[in-house]
């Protein structure tokens, strides 16, 4: 009772200093919490952008295909696999694709790239290709339709309705085959690699041109991204000698690494700020203690035990820490709300090979926010141990001597 009364009154004795200390603690918490939410949001956005694009959330191939893609290496037993995917509850959709390297030519130029054969409706259930169209329309009924990347269109100097000739090597005999398409749509992922090398045609048309009976890959979309990470999910059991199932973490290990490192970056920022706060609190408390040496001397002279002086200063630290953390949480709330609803625009900036084509929506993990807030409070309280120890060891006669 006496300890808390003295602690509270002393805290508000020098309002400007207390306010500055609270500002330091609260702004540190704002920085830590925001960094955590922003890092999570950035990684989440990168993962979403990657898995929404061509990659999908998972892919199925013939074992070894990813290491050495070959038009002959189609997925065997596709109808059996398709029926299993059709009945899997956790899957939202899947898109079988034929894939081949090809030569693209127009009336003006020629360049290399990758041609994908897709079923438009199935692809739309798995990736955002349809949403990325900036001109023309998605693949419909016409067999000669092709949609190409914006950079590829620029390189070949073609537009909607123009002729687009594909030269590819057939499966089996390896003979060259040429197919004429008309550009029906142009897409842009804001990713130079995707926009300058990819073209999409109807699955059947490409399968016929390649003379293959099954797809080379199947892109899969789950009902949620977490399911793709769940090794206990039944879809994982698809993996066999015949089919190789690869979730996005294995398809894009660089993004997985960023995800794993994101926790470390928040921890580093937190540690730096914690150290800064701790030293500032120690400094502020020592300033306060030196100003109050005489008072501590009086308290000790009157019979106050050293442990009570220690407790009083520890209580001051704990109260300042609690107030600073509370102020920090209040300050960060509107910032988090804005960042979690409107998002932070990073338009078309490329991070680790992923074009940030949509705003970064802050990801708030409430248990993590609570953990960071409690940690900061603990650091502030811990930082006051050293000055409290100093004050509790004062000799009354010396502490009461007037300062020169």
């Amino acid at each position: 009772m006496l300890v808390s009364k003295l602690a509270l009154r002393n805290i508000f004795r020098n309002p400007r200093r207390t306010l500055l200390t609270l500002l330091l603690i609260s702004s540190s918490l704002v920085a830590i919490v925001f960094t955590d939410a922003f890092t999570r949001g950035t990684v989440q956005t990168m993962v979403e952008l990657s898995t929404d694009s061509l990659m999908g959330q998972a892919q199925i191939h013939k074992p070894g295909y990813r290491q050495a893609p070959d038009v002959n290496e189609t997925i065997h037993g596709f109808s059996d696999l398709a029926s299993r995917l059709d009945t899997a509850n956790s899957i939202d959709g899947y898109s079988p694709r034929t894939v081949s390297g090809a030569m693209f030519s127009s009336a003006y130029d020629v360049t290399g790239g990758s041609l994908y054969g897709i079923n438009p409706d199935q692809e739309a259930a798995v990736t955002d290709l349809e949403d990325k169209l900036i001109e023309g329309s998605y693949l419909t009924e016409g067999d000669d339709q092709v949609i190409i990347g914006s950079e590829l269109a620029k390189r070949l100097d073609i537009g909607l309705g123009d002729r687009f000739v594909v030269t590819l090597s057939r499966a089996g005999d390896g003979e060259l085959s040429q197919v004429l398409f008309r550009v029906s749509g142009i897409f842009r992922y804001s990713d130079r690699n995707l926009d300058s090398t990819l073209a999409f045609v109807h699955y059947d048309v490409m399968a016929k041109a390649l003379q293959v009976n099954g797809p080379h890959q199947i892109a899969v979309r789950f009902k949620s991204l977490e399911i793709a990470d769940d090794p206990l999910n039944s879809v994982w059991k698809i993996s066999s000698e015949q089919w190789e199932f690869l979730p996005w973490r294995q398809l894009a290990p660089e993004i997985n690494s960023i995800l794993e490192m994101s926790g470390i970056s928040t921890m580093i920022v937190s540690i730096i700020l914690y150290i800064l706060v701790a030293f500032s609190v120690i400094n502020t408390m020592f300033m306060s203690i030196f100003e109050r040496h005489r008072e501590f001397g009086i308290q000790l002279a009157l019979g106050t035990h050293a442990r009570m002086i220690f407790g009083q200063l520890l209580a001051e630290g704990a109260i300042i820490g609690a107030l600073g953390v509370a102020a920090g949480l209040i300050l960060v709330t509107p910032l988090l709300y804005y960042g979690a609803t409107v998002g932070i625009e990073y338009s078309d900036i490329e991070v680790s090979g992923v074009a940030m084509a949509k705003p970064i929506i802050l990801q708030i993990e409430y248990p993590e926010v609570a953990k960071l807030a409690i940690s900061l409070w603990f650091v502030v309280t811990l930082a006051s141990v050293y000055p409290a120890k100093h004050a509790s060891k004062l000799v009354p006669a010396i502490a009461m001597r007037p300062a020169i």
Partner: protein
């Protein structure tokens, strides 16, 4: 009458070699219960240091300090705190009140440390406020009181827990003469009514007249000990 205070060859030195200062040098002093004793001497004679030794606020360089039959030189820091809390009241030259506490809270501070019930604390504080003439000012903080009023609060704080010994270091030094005499009158009345032992230091010759015993210090040594 038993000795409340007994110092045996007490010395307190500061610094060393060329900078050595013997603030108190081999002082032997006995003060009996109920005495009203003044320790006098010029500035730097060691009055305050001797009071600090007697009040267990500092540790002697050598010698022993016995208070109420106990050797305080041998007590731990925690034991000293408890001993001061239960046996000694202090009045300092610079009032030395806790600035964030009101007059009432300052007065009841020691009783709070002693764990005295709220009801008893209120009763005792009301009583002593009347005795020191501070009724109606109990809610004021030290900064809202005059020097004389602050010193009255300090005297009330020293007395309210009913210690056996009250040590006052130049209690009138910062007060005008009228207030100073009034304070000494009050201290002497309390000494007579409550049989408390008062030891105060001063270098004001007029104030010395209030004491029944005068101990004169020069250069850290007792040079005169007079009973009036």
């Amino acid at each position: 009458m038993s000795n409340v205070i007994e110092t045996k060859s007490v010395s307190r030195h500061f610094g060393k070699d060329e900078t050595l200062v013997k603030a108190i040098d081999q002082v032997d002093l006995q003060i009996e219960e109920g005495e009203f004793t003044a320790i006098i001497g010029p500035s730097g004679s060691g009055k305050s240091t001797l009071l600090q030794m007697i009040g267990a606020l500092d540790t002697p360089t050598s010698g022993e300090v016995w208070l109420a039959g106990k050797d305080v030189s041998a007590m731990s820091s925690s034991e000293l705190s408890s001993f001061r809390r239960d046996n000694i009241g202090f009045v300092f030259q610079a009032y030395n009140l806790v600035p964030v506490l009101s007059a009432r809270e300052n007065i009841e501070y020691v009783m709070l440390l002693q764990g005295i019930s709220e009801e008893e604390r209120i009763r005792r504080v009301d009583e002593i406020l009347q005795e020191v003439g501070l009724e109606g000012r109990e809610g004021r903080r030290p900064s809202e009181l005059s020097g004389g009023q602050q010193q009255r609060v300090a005297v009330a704080r020293a007395m309210v827990s009913k210690p056996s010994l009250i040590l006052a270091d130049e209690p009138t030094a910062n007060l005008d003469s009228k207030t100073g005499y009034a304070l000494l009158d009050m201290m002497r009345n309390l000494n007579e009514q409550h049989t408390m032992t008062f030891v105060f230091s001063t270098h004001d010759t007029k104030i010395m007249e209030y004491a029944r015993r005068i101990v004169k210090l020069v250069d850290g040594k007792i040079v005169e000990d007079t009973l009036k």
